[in-house]
Symmetry: D2
Subunit: 338 residues, 4 copies
């Protein structure tokens, strides 16, 4: 259910409506818009009688939401959501590029890569400190030490950092050091983790699961919003199919599909989406052309010796060329590289 | 690396080998067999020099393990693993049937179902107290109250109970009340949860993820064994494909594939695997014929009003007929219904 | 549209109804049943006004068929279709085993295999004379020479033979020599071929396409029936998924799905369905338990030197053991091995 | 095997080499290049002894081809293949747009659409006269009447036309009227049809099958080239996956994958690739950005009443906007709209 306030509803009227909703045992979500404020309602088990709310002062309309997700839907909020991270805005007209290694391996490795990607124009830095690995015997990340390196990178290069929290336990540490908390593809339906980051004050970058439908992706985002954190960035990173020329099948049509159904920004990750260095550039350009709000790109100074995902990491000079191509393409698409 | 002791190696010799392995900074896993003892070694980042161990008293052989998983592999342990739960053994010649509702909804609902499935011959009872749900607005289970109902069922009907832990936090409660901890398909690669149940004293039922390969399933089991819990039961429950005549595609060939690669028992879940009541019986029989060590079957007294997964739950009398068919089939396959 | 005649409708009344349907520019398909006759109607582009037919003598009922397929549906014909091939019946209570090499390579190879599979109890012989191959440079079959070898096998061993027609051109030759014309998975939607075999007097074995839904399989069968050939045998042979432990994913749930929707018999092909010799036996048993009307099994005397599909061909003694297991299983399932 | 002639090899020397290859019972394929000529060799069942050819006058090098496909591979021919159709070249720096209805429904319908797409800048016209349909009861196309309409369109609007041949029988008619023969996704492995169009003098547009790997697509193209027709244009049109927000999953990474492995041009078809009108524009731009040599776009003047594929057909004004966006994008990508 969505309560749409009139354009000139007073703060008082909004608060009265909120109190009324709470008194009905429901949960109000105030969604300020540029023109008017709306209040999403969750927590109901069956349909709500709209009559009680319709007659209240300042209330213009009470609308039933027909999708299984509510807070993330365009029905609830027409305008694109813009999420500010430091000086950067994700969503809307700007286009962000998040770049860095799959995993933070050492201060020296991370600093060298950060210097290169910053110079080439990356807007945010990525690097895993906690790594979810298929094998218990693979490198599992540097943990808090990695987070400290990321903090230094933010300070040294003025780059906001994105890093993954792999479980409820690690969220506390990650939100202490990082600007954006990533929830990985394997955790897209780790509902306890979603609820926990839903109570964080940090924006969340939520990656699509390997065999998740677009609706399931939006439902997982809904978990985060329903806990009060409205700053969610989605990310298409490839799905698992029979096709074997790439590691995953990058499903770029998810970008316009999400844009139609939801107001949340969505990025494309051609590095995981293809798993092959020489496919990253064409699929990055394709991602921008399909309408994504930005890209996640893996870059490594020495991919052959990377502790994870080497084959899909760009060499720094490939990343420079990618940024140049993106800049040209952005002009043709009326986008601004952040 | 696997250290195979000679048939008549003394307890002392085994302990000396274990101590030697630990002194090398590695982790020994003692695997007693009916004829001889083997010691699996994990924790190495590169290859280990076999020479040091080969010459030790009581050591017959030192073998390199070629699979990415070690402790779960047949290379490490030739004989089928049998896991005892109460009076029941899972694995080997016996065939178990775990039956019950998708979710514990009330004491009355659970008791009525338990009575029916016990009478029909079920060996264990299943029922979710914590439910991972795609939507944050769906019924999320009764939590600890549900676990208490399960405990009463065990006492009243002498049925060991299986129930899911959906996150690290809930494991403590679940292991307090349940006989077997289930890790669901969506959590198959929730590595923190795998490590936590790897430190539990309860057996773990690990379901295959929706788009997991058999190798990934075994790697996830390896996470649990590598923490010291060797009592893992695998479960095929259908994978996600384009096919739309069933909810998932039950991939029964995973059963012989697992049997070839691993010593762990594997069950089939035709309820989730098909999502349709009228496909459960034929696919349950097919699961037994394919060599599964048992089945997980959803049964509900009132499927139309079930709070989750109603369309795939059998009516009690359908379950009675299923058990009769299984009994006849077991004879032809030299299996014993536990 | 389906016209159901009354139990005691005379032949005259049936013919009058047929004539009436033809006079409306539509195509009648007379479907004799054990109790009453029905007449399927195809050829309409929109709905037909039932009134005209309802009042005719001998007509009991006029029913709209709601599925996109008509002639193949259970709505049209409730009883299982039995298809007689020589002395063998496919469908109903009997269970057939079609065995032989992937391709006929020489008279000596085919005869040796035929002798083995006949002795072990196979009901029909299979062997490709025309082979659809992914590469233009692979062995494409012996052509008519292969068909002549198959004819000799039928005469020598009293085994009806099944062989593939790969295009409209080859149907004429194939129907001259073979008892059953196979349409392969790659040709499941070769509609010109379907129409052509629909005008043949031979039964057709139609294999499910690699990414065909069950509905599409039934629609392809409908093409054959709509041309007048009602003797169609379906076959599940595995679909293409991400799973890599088998060559294809044998989707046995297609068996009960087809049984529910259609009166046509359906076989399972665990050889193509798994692509691995050691998975054939368990999946063959699973196919029988799932309710299939028979199996297609590849057997070769020298699989290592087979010109195609060697890795999935059974050794003759494996086939003997398979037949023994099937015989035991059949007893438990009230089936009779044909 | 590939015989590379020296830059200044005479026509005589080339013919001598060809004759030598033929005398060895093999099939030579002369591939003229801008700098030198190469001769592909097929027809060998095992490896060829290179010695005999290496010593011949004018022969610079004899190279073993390591891929299962030969004539289509980059190993065989480094430069991109350009295929001339009327005044249009497909492949290389130019970018083509093939537009028109799914099916030719009438002269009036086809002419109205042709006028619109020509005015908007389409380079070729598409329209089906023979339609492969899942159901035998769906509109199957106008047949030769449709081909005649296409011929008139070419004359009236100076637009080369592309239309599908659905079987060997229809190729003769199609090549009489059309400029490019299309082989549809369902026929990608109809090897008889591939061989037949391989003997045509018309270029062939070969669409990727619904569950075909990139290697299988190239092998199917190899069938055509091996018969002597080197003018093959590939087309990515979406593959079948679990994803349900689009009709198929448009796998744009197939574009750079094909470009790496083969010299043949490849188009993208976002109409079939998404099945939804509002996804066509973003995915068309993405296709161009990913490096495709052109697009196939379905346009209809009255999609609601289209006899097939209405929901994915653009309205004419949407096509105008698409062409404008493509023109801007082409500038940024150094492409020229043909």
């Amino acid at each position: 259910m969505l309560v749409v306030m009139s354009r000139n509803a007073s703060q008082d009227e909004i608060e009265t409506a909120v109190a009324k909703i709470e008194s009905m045992g429901l949960k109000p979500h105030v969604i300020p818009g540029s023109i008017r404020t709306a209040i999403g309602i969750t927590g109901n088990t069956g349909p709500i009688e709209p009559g009680i709310l319709e007659g209240m002062p300042g209330v213009r309309d009470v609308i039933r939401v027909t999708k299984p997700y509510k807070l993330v839907s365009r029905e609830m909020k027409k305008e694109d959501t813009r999420i500010e991270v430091g000086n950067v805005a994700i969503g809307g007209a700007s286009f962000v590029v998040i770049a860095g290694p799959c995993a933070v391996e050492s201060e020296s490795q991370a600093f060298q890569i950060a210097e290169k990607v910053k110079a080439a124009g990356a807007t945010l830095f990525r690097g895993g400190a906690f790594k979810p690995r298929t094998s218990p015997y693979s490198f599992q990340g540097l943990g808090e030490e990695g987070l400290k390196i990321l903090q230094k990178i933010r300070e040294e290069f003025d780059l906001p950092v994105v890093t993954e929290a792999i479980d409820v336990e690690s969220v506390g540490l990650v939100e202490q050091y990082a600007d954006v908390i990533q929830v990985g593809a394997r955790n897209m339906q780790n509902f306890s983790l979603l609820k926990r980051v839903g109570r964080s004050s940090r924006p969340v970058l939520l990656k699509r699961g390997m065999s998740a439908t677009v609706e399931e992706l939006l439902m997982s985002a809904e978990y985060i919003l329903s806990e009060g954190n409205y700053r969610v960035i989605l990310c298409e990173r490839g799905v698992r199919t029979f096709a074997d020329h790439t590691r995953n099948t990058l499903d770029l049509s998810a970008v316009p599909a999400v844009k139609e159904l939801s107001h949340l920004p969505i990025l494309a990750d051609p590095s995981h989406g293809t798993g092959k260095r020489d496919k990253v550039l064409p699929m990055a350009l394709a991602g921008m052309a399909a309408g994504a709000d930005g890209l996640m790109i893996e870059v490594h100074i020495d991919p052959e010796r990377a502790l994870s995902d080497g084959p899909q990491s760009l060499y720094p000079d490939q990343f420079v060329r990618l940024m140049e191509s993106l800049r040209r393409l952005a002009l043709a698409l009326d986008k601004t590289l952040a």
